[in-house]
């Protein structure tokens, strides 16, 4: 079975959970013998791990051949513009620069380099919609050049590419919903993004969602036939032993960590408020907000206003090793997401023996037993849970031990096998 897979980012160049999930899943799929995957990303830098599959960068494709389809797509879907506040993820390279619109304001036009290839920035920004469609045009060529039995497109960014490929090859399309705009926007959905999402789901022969929470959204909000939608839970990459270096903890207090994009979706303000409550009861704790995002400044100001800045620290965006380091330093990990389709990071925390507190509004809460689950808005409950774990060692010991056990059983290979079954079903029912 040959799979043509469209993604948006790939390690090490990732800015969010999507890249991590894609990588884990493809790695799992590569262990299945009769599967061949061609993974397409908008920009391949050349230093990605290619041992597991063939990676095709869209910027390595000559676009002359697809001129015709470009025209076709342009008339069908008019040019869309997304305001910069709707950028799904902010750029990790913006570390400590806090949103710089100048970075994106250029490059409005399609750039073709000397060899007639499209230039892709491969990063999220105001010219995102441009990129999505450019990617789609190129997808049709790739679809011609690479023989395949099934097409798999990850998230709305890649749906147009998946559709374009399907139109050329006529092979069945599976779309993988890692998040919907309902999660990202806190309910205020961007109609243009919604349109692309719905278009992708409508065109798909099968839809994979990362949790039942997301499945329900896909069914209710996007009007999809329940029989077409299947949940495949994400998993987590096992941490290799060599990574487990000793990390020196500089502070003697317990460390409570929030790690993620500091945006509305992740509920950072509930973390700050809960921290304030906990600090009123005990001194023996420090809070860390790791990450960057459009709400960072507001959170810094709020912490200062509450007078807790000497116990509440910010790190800015963390890359690779630093994420791991942060987990090693943590005694509690908190994910108070307002809406989280899945949420891999609590699993990563549990692997590092860190007890986790997650919101009930997260997909991952459907599969975890050994985690504290609270409503994201329930600051009292959140503060209570944090206090309990840092004060009662027996509680935290149980969470560590059982949590580790639980998370070690969540393997990408089983997720991959599930996806493989979905492929087989889709191909069969299509014939």
């Amino acid at each position: 079975m040959k799979v043509l897979m469209f993604g948006w980012e790939f390690p090490p160049h990732i800015s969010g959970g999507l890249g991590t999930a894609c990588y884990g899943l493809t790695k799992g799929l590569s262990k299945i013998n009769d599967l061949d995957i061609v993974f397409v990303v908008p920009k391949s830098y050349g230093d990605e791990d290619q041992s597991k599959m063939q990676l095709v960068g869209a910027n390595n494709v000559n676009i002359k051949q697809v001129q015709e389809h470009i025209e076709k797509f342009k008339t069908k879907h008019t040019y869309l513009e997304v305001e910069s506040t709707l950028i799904p993820y902010t750029d990790p390279d913006e570390y400590y620069s806090f949103r710089d619109s100048k970075l994106y304001s250029k490059n409005r036009l399609f750039k073709v380099n000397a060899e007639g290839k499209l230039e892709f920035t491969g990063k999220y920004g105001a010219n995102l919609i441009d990129e999505i469609y450019k990617y789609a045009y190129v997808a049709s060529t790739i679809s011609l050049d690479n023989e395949h039995d099934i097409i798999h497109a990850h998230d709305w960014l890649c749906y147009p590419a998946g559709i374009a490929a399907k139109e050329i090859s006529g092979k069945p399309l599976v779309v993988h919903v890692h998040a919907t705009d309902f999660d990202r926007s806190g309910g205020k959905v961007n109609p243009k993004v919604f349109e692309i999402e719905k278009m992708g789901m409508d065109a798909a022969d099968k839809i994979i969602t990362v949790s039942n929470l997301t499945r329900q959204i896909v069914i209710n909000k996007y009007g999809q036939d329940p029989s077409k939608v299947e949940t495949v839970y994400n998993a987590v990459e096992p941490v290799s032993l060599e990574q487990k270096k000793e990390i020196k903890k500089g502070v003697k207090e317990k460390v409570v960590t929030f790690l993620g994009r500091i945006t509305l979706q992740k509920g950072p303000e509930y973390f700050v408020e809960a921290a304030h409550q906990v600090l009123q009861r005990t001194d023996d704790v420090r809070f860390v907000m790791a990450g960057s995002g459009d709400m960072l400044e507001k959170m810094v100001a709020r912490a200062a206003q509450l007078g807790i800045s000497d116990r509440f620290h910010f790190t800015g965006f963390l890359k690779g090793d630093d994420v791991f380091k942060m987990f090693e330093l943590s005694d509690v990990y908190v994910m108070p997401s307002v809406s989280e389709p899945f949420g891999i990071s609590p699993l990563e925390a549990m692997q590092s023996n860190v007890p986790v507190i997650i919101s009930k509004q997260s997909g991952v809460s459907e599969i975890l037993n050994h985690a504290v689950k609270v409503d994201y808005w329930d600051i009292d409950a959140l503060a209570d849970a944090i206090y309990g774990i840092i004060k009662y060692d027996s509680l935290s010991d149980v969470f560590k031990e059982k949590g580790k056990e639980e998370v070690d059983n969540l393997k990408w290979t089983s997720a991959a096998r599930h996806v493989h079954d979905v492929y087989a079903d889709t191909i069969n029912s299509n014939n």
């Binding site: 400590y96 620069s97 806090f98 020196k248 903890k249 500089g250 502070v251 003697k252 420090r286 860390v288 790791a290 960072l296 400044e297 810094v300 100001a301 200062a304 206003q305 007078g307 800045s309 000497d310 116990r311 620290h313 910010f314 790190t315 800015g316 630093d322 380091k325 330093l329």
Partner: protein
């Protein structure tokens, strides 16, 4: 004959390095050595050294008629000593002429006057001592960080024995009154006040190279005619500015150095003027009135208040968390802690956290190492957290250590005990 008081504030910030959460408790070094060294070298070459050279020449060519005053912050003196000792030497050379007066300030160029009187006094004393060591003169006049002043601060300064204090001739304080007279403090009239003539000062400091200014280009002749236009009865003109005006804020290409070379001689040749230091002014003139300054003023920004350093929630939080530590610092009296303590108090750290629209602030935004006030705040608080950990660790260590006398007494007691036992055993042995 009118007196002209030329005063320059000399200060550079000590930059903190990027201090991340991971460093807290692990790494106790807070400073950006490379950034500090390159900034200092640039300042020395572009501003301090050429300006000092010109001033030295002027003193000689004017037959010691030309006089200036400086206040150099303790932080800058430390930096100069470390990176560009040649600048210290050139200031020493100026001091040796007897025409240069050194004015006292807070060691750290800090805002401590607003928070803690005891600490304020200690910092001023530390600075004066340092000036005396380096330049052989004990300051008689005082200028607070960025001309920050209030009646209350003035009273404290008077109680330390200073005769004069320099501050801003702020419009909302003086009203219709002219800054060109000597004033005195409202609570203790013994302290004389020199009010900055901000029009004439800023003509040089801010507007010199602004081509849109209708008086551009400013020449020494033009400036002298402005002085001539002052009322005959007015006694003195206080021209205060940052020393970096020469060669940094106003670049060499603007002709600022030529202006500096020509102006003093032009003024002296014109007749009717002499140059004087703050110390000389308070001896020569009588105060014309009391200056009432119940609310604190400074020479910064259009508002002439504290809003560049304090007032937003970030600045207030950092400022309060910093001075919570002062008791512990004094109690521990540890040299290394004290050094960092001094550096962490610099007003610059709080200036970087300012969120109000920078209009006049442009002058220094060029030196700002941070991308945003939030960024500055995060970095500073991380450093402060580590600093606090060190204080706690040292406190613990000290409480554990027992005074030497008790240890000796205890040992003495033991020795006595063993001795008696020994004699007892000896006797027993003999008997046997």
């Amino acid at each position: 004959m009118k007196s002209i008081c030329l005063y320059f504030q000399v200060h550079q910030p000590l930059r903190l390095r990027r201090y991340r959460f991971f460093d807290i408790g692990n790494n106790h070094y807070y400073y950006d050595d490379f950034g500090n060294e390159s900034l200092l070298r640039k300042m020395a070459n572009d501003s301090y050294l050429p300006s000092n050279k010109i001033i030295l020449k002027l003193i000689h060519s004017s037959n010691k008629q030309f006089k200036v005053s400086f206040s150099i912050s303790g932080v800058l003196l430390d930096l100069l000593e470390l990176y560009t000792p040649d600048v210290i030497d050139s200031f020493k050379e100026l001091a040796d002429t007897g025409c240069v007066d050194f004015v006292a300030e807070t060691y750290s160029h800090s805002l401590v006057a607003l928070k803690n009187k005891q600490e304020f006094k200690a910092q001023v004393k530390m600075h004066s001592k340092r000036i005396e060591q380096l330049f052989g003169q004990k300051p008689v006049a005082f200028s607070n960080t960025e001309m920050i002043y209030s009646d209350d601060i003035g009273k404290t300064v008077a109680s330390m024995g200073f005769k004069a204090m320099l501050t801003e001739g702020a419009k909302h304080i003086l009203g219709w009154k002219s800054p060109n007279y000597l004033y005195c403090n409202a609570l203790n009239p013994k302290l004389k006040l020199l009010m900055r003539n901000y029009n004439l000062s800023d003509d040089i400091a801010f507007r010199f190279s602004v081509k849109e200014w209708n008086e551009w280009p400013l020449t020494s002749e033009k400036f002298t005619t402005w002085l001539d236009q002052l009322d005959d009865k007015e006694e003195l003109v206080n021209i205060f500015m940052a020393y970096e005006t020469f060669g940094e804020h106003q670049k060499k290409e603007s002709g600022i150095f030529k202006f500096l070379k020509k102006l003093p001689l032009q003024i002296l040749n014109n007749g009717g003027y002499k140059f004087a230091t703050p110390g000389e002014l308070v001896k020569e003139y009588q105060p014309i009135a009391v200056a009432h300054v119940p609310n604190t003023i400074s020479w910064t920004d259009e508002e002439r208040d504290l809003s560049a350093w304090l007032g937003n929630e970030l600045q207030d939080e950092a400022f309060n968390k910093l001075y919570e530590l002062s008791d512990a610092i004094n109690e521990l009296d540890d040299a290394r802690l004290r050094k960092d303590w001094n550096y962490l108090q610099s007003s610059d750290h709080f200036y970087y956290m300012c969120t109000k629209f920078f209009s006049d602030g442009d002058v220094r935004s060029y030196f700002n190492p941070y991308n945003s006030p939030y960024d500055a705040f995060i970095n500073y608080m991380n450093v402060l957290s580590d600093f606090k950990l060190r204080i706690e660790a040292l406190k613990k260590e000290k409480s554990k250590s027992v005074p030497l006398e008790t240890v000796i007494a205890k040992k003495d007691k033991e020795i006595k005990h063993y001795k008696s036992e020994l004699t007892k055993l000896k006797q027993q042995f003999m008997l046997d």
